[in-house]
């Protein structure tokens, strides 16, 4: 059986404690995943400044070249996976088999990762707002006649990673050209992507010392968050709650992303159904940037009915089917529990599952031994209904009608808002809203990410801060 080891400063370490990575459908083990004990992580962290020094010696231009080369290797080459070799097709197949994500979606996620590796210079340009990137070599640059100096805040970036959406791995990749070693805890059912990315970087010439890969327990994850100077935490509301007040930890929690159709555009709602559907369904509805809410200034029920008819056409397909749009649940009882929870909440007056009447089956279905939740549209007459503020691990959207002047306050926290409006006054209000993290003005799907824009905080600003600099001579 494949054994995926720990990587300590890039060196393989096979633990005596290993968990099984299982096939989402059969439950049969696909691989063993070495588990790092908490103290091992803490001990390795004591040497982080040494490891950072090794990375520091690489000029940023060289690291950008390595990113491009790593992308090519990631896409085309076989890479080490413990004692085995992993081809690109093996990767897609393994990723699909442990997460339940259709291979077609796995490929799309792979493309997202590759795009960031290939376009790293543009990504850094976005993160630094056009700052001369040589600043990470020299500590300062002169721009527009003014000296600008930035200081690195940490010797390592920790990342507690999810299992639901491999595309998120593109978020921590810029740490390497920014010369900050990585300390990664992979998701228990998605150890593949971060391991393969690391192997591609090493094969492309990046120093091994920059990569630490620790499959570990909850305690080990806490150790990473405590011992790395800066980190990213992906998780649900309960997982991220204890760390929200720690400025060293960048939180990537639930998204509650939304599409908003304002008064001036709502009568033309049929033109925007594609945008709404893509926002909710793309990537199997698993991402924090998938829309889980459609907020409209009028005609809500009518729009919800039309969306429901569309969503009801999306069916469960096998993971090998190129037309598959939704992922199977690796955990069947979880799928049943989510569906039951939605049904229980529908008993609270003010919400109705409109897809139910258009589907030939229930929301929960099984196909070829796999569990699926079919795309669901819930019409929420009451904007305070719990289902108007929910998101789930499948394509789910609540349609809520609200007076425009009350909408932003009622919407609450929103990772990505796509605002379909030409009303300048309303746009100004959205700009001023502290609830909205990423903003798309116009019919841009919430899932369409421009990688030269920051995501849930700017990684450059997370890792570096500007220092005052004056020089004579």
């Amino acid at each position: 059986m494949i054994h995926i080891p720990i990587l300590r400063a890039g060196k393989v370490y096979k633990s005596l404690d290993a968990n099984k990575v299982v096939h989402f459908k059969s439950g049969e083990p696909i691989a063993e995943l070495s588990q790092a004990n908490r103290g091992m992580i803490a001990r390795d962290m004591l040497k982080m400044s040494e490891y950072q020094n090794v990375l520091q010696e690489f000029p940023v231009r060289k690291l950008l070249e390595i990113c491009k080369k790593a992308a090519d290797i990631f896409r085309n080459e076989s890479l080490p996976l413990g004692d085995h070799e992993q081809s690109p097709e093996d990767y897609i197949s393994q990723l699909s088999s442990s997460t339940g994500m259709p291979k077609s979606l796995c490929r799309r996620n792979m493309d997202k990762i590759l795009l960031v590796m290939e376009e790293m210079e543009a990504v850094l340009g976005g993160l630094t707002r056009g700052l001369d990137i040589n600043v990470v070599d020299s500590g300062w640059v002169e721009q527009n006649g003014t000296p600008l100096s930035f200081i690195r805040e940490t010797d390592s970036l920790g990342a507690i990673l999810p299992s639901n959406s491999p595309g998120v791995h593109s978020l921590w990749l810029p740490a390497i050209p920014l010369k900050v070693p990585l300390v990664l805890k992979p998701g228990s059912s998605e150890p593949w992507s971060p391991f393969r990315i690391i192997q591609a970087f090493i094969a492309a010439g990046a120093p091994r010392e920059a990569f630490h890969y620790y499959p570990t327990s909850y305690n080990g994850a806490a150790e990473i968050l405590l011992k790395t100077g800066r980190s990213m935490l992906f998780g649900d509301k309960n997982t991220v709650a204890p760390w929200k007040k720690d400025p060293r930890v960048q939180i990537h929690g639930p998204g509650w992303s939304k599409v908003v159709i304002a008064e001036d555009k709502v009568d033309d709602w049929e033109s925007y159904l594609d945008v709404v559907e893509t926002s909710a369904v793309s990537n199997g509805g698993r991402s924090c940037i998938n829309a889980s809410g459609l907020w409209v200034a009028g005609r809500g029920k009518e729009i919800a009915e039309a969306l429901a008819k569309r969503f009801a056409k999306i069916t469960a397909r096998t993971i090998d089917d190129p037309a598959a749009e939704i992922a199977a649940f690796a955990n069947k009882p979880l799928a049943e529990m989510i569906s039951e929870m939605i049904d229980q909440q529908l008993e609270i007056p003010g919400a109705e599952d409109l897809t139910a009447k258009y589907r030939e089956t229930g929301r929960f279905v099984e196909l070829d031994g796999c569990a699926f939740l079919l795309p669901t549209v819930v019409w929420c007459e009451d904007p305070t209904h719990p289902l108007a503020h929910s998101e789930f691990l499948f394509p789910y959207i609540s349609v809520v009608e609200s007076p425009q002047d009350e909408m932003l306050e009622k919407m609450g926290s929103t990772l990505v808002a796509t605002a379909i409006t030409g009303n300048r006054s309303f746009i100004q209000k959205i700009f001023a809203s502290q609830h909205v993290e990423r903003l798309n003005i116009g019919p841009i799907p919430t899932m369409k990410i421009s990688w030269d824009q920051p995501h849930e905080g700017n990684l450059f600003e997370h890792l570096y801060r500007q220092r005052a600099l004056q020089m004579i001579g």
Partner: protein, 362 residues
């Protein structure tokens, strides 16, 4: 075909025979109106048989059913004191309290006896007689605090302590206060560092895996003069054992142990430098016995190497615990020459409890 050598088989038979005789002695004591505790005498009144007549061997203990830990929650605690030991100075020890209201156990000399027996398993070169000890573990109403001190004194040393309240740590974990927990851990470790640096003769340490890791981030214990570490706690597994020997404390004798307030202290199968880091514990027979049983049928002992729930029986004149289902599971380990009775390997929290029990500094 017998799986054990003839010599070991003989030792196992002798151990079983000693155990059966010990069971008869202990049952006679606890159910005798002149010597038994109020609890067991009242318990016997509800039975339709006389345990002293019906229980002639370890296997016969089954007719008493299973000890329930709920009996240990709350008072009156004196109902557990055997009449035969009335008037002797009595301690009361609490469990860690990681599963709700603490259980209490009375104690007179058992903890000293248990740790004196355990002392015989320690290497005199790495746990030198006359060396002082640091007890870096939970303080307060726990047996461990006094027991380690007694072990140290029994070996001619003086024991130093830190203040450590594991229940506070558990609360911090439940509230998700990781940073405050880290500060508390630093506070505990700083106390230990101060003691270690101030007292040259400290050569032995008791601690838990988490605290050992934290201590070793700050100090090289071998350079500080430590020769032996006696370590117990829920994070102890083969990987930690290897990590400790290879990285945390190379060159220091590392002795894993398993103990609790109800049982006493189990010894670990000696490490043979053969890269076999699996940890196998053997109880202090015949004072305590492990049975590794099917969790769904506690009367069914699993085969050697198979996983089961730990069923603990404690048999001392101070305390009688027949067939108590522990919150731990492990693999049934075969007898060895040194310990010719059943042991347990790969001990861990029972799978069904793994999400509900908070494991703090232990």
């Amino acid at each position: 075909m017998d799986i054990f050598s003839k010599a070991l088989t003989e030792k196992m038979k002798k151990a079983q025979s000693d155990l059966d005789a010990h069971v008869r002695e202990i049952v006679d004591w606890h159910f005798d109106p002149a010597t038994g505790s109020p609890f067991w005498l009242e318990y016997a009144e509800k039975l339709d048989f006389d345990p002293r007549k019906e229980i002639g061997s370890f296997d016969d203990l089954k007719i008493l059913g299973h000890f329930e830990d709920e009996w240990l929650r709350g008072g009156p605690v004196r109902r557990w004191v055997p009449k035969g030991l009335a008037g002797k100075p009595t301690y009361v020890f609490e469990t860690g309290g990681s599963t709700g209201v603490p259980k209490t156990r009375i104690n007179i000399n058992d903890f000293q006896t248990d740790y004196e027996i355990f002392s015989d398993t320690l290497n005199d070169e790495t746990f030198p007689k006359g060396a002082d000890w640091l007890m870096l573990g939970p303080s307060g109403p726990r047996r461990l605090r006094l027991a380690v001190e007694h072990l140290c004194q029994h070996r001619g040393g003086i024991c130093f302590f830190v203040d450590l309240d594991p229940r506070w740590v558990n609360k911090l974990i439940k509230r998700g206060e990781h940073q405050e927990m880290q500060q508390y851990k630093d506070h505990v470790i700083n106390q230990a560092l101060t003691i270690l640096r101030a007292h040259d003769n400290i050569q032995c340490v008791f601690t838990t895996p988490k605290l050992l890791e934290a201590l070793c981030e700050k100090i090289n214990l071998r350079k500080a003069g430590v020769k032996g570490i006696f370590c117990g706690g829920t994070e102890m597994n083969a990987q930690f054992h290897r990590f400790a020997r290879e990285e945390l404390v190379p060159g220091i004798d590392f002795v894993p142990t398993y103990g609790n307030t109800l049982m006493g202290l189990a010894a670990c199968k000696p490490f043979n430098n053969d890269n076999d880091y699996a940890i196998t514990y053997y109880p202090p027979h015949p004072r305590a016995v492990f049975e590794i049983v099917n969790p769904d049928n506690l009367d069914e002992v699993v085969d050697y190497g198979e996983t089961g729930r730990v069923l603990l029986t404690t048999l001392t004149k101070e305390f009688f615990v027949p067939r108590f289902p522990e919150r731990d599971e492990g693999d049934r380990a075969a007898p060895i020459d040194l310990y010719p009775w059943d042991g347990v390997s790969n001990l861990r929290l029972l799978s069904s409890l793994q999400t509900s029990v908070v494991v703090g500094v232990y």
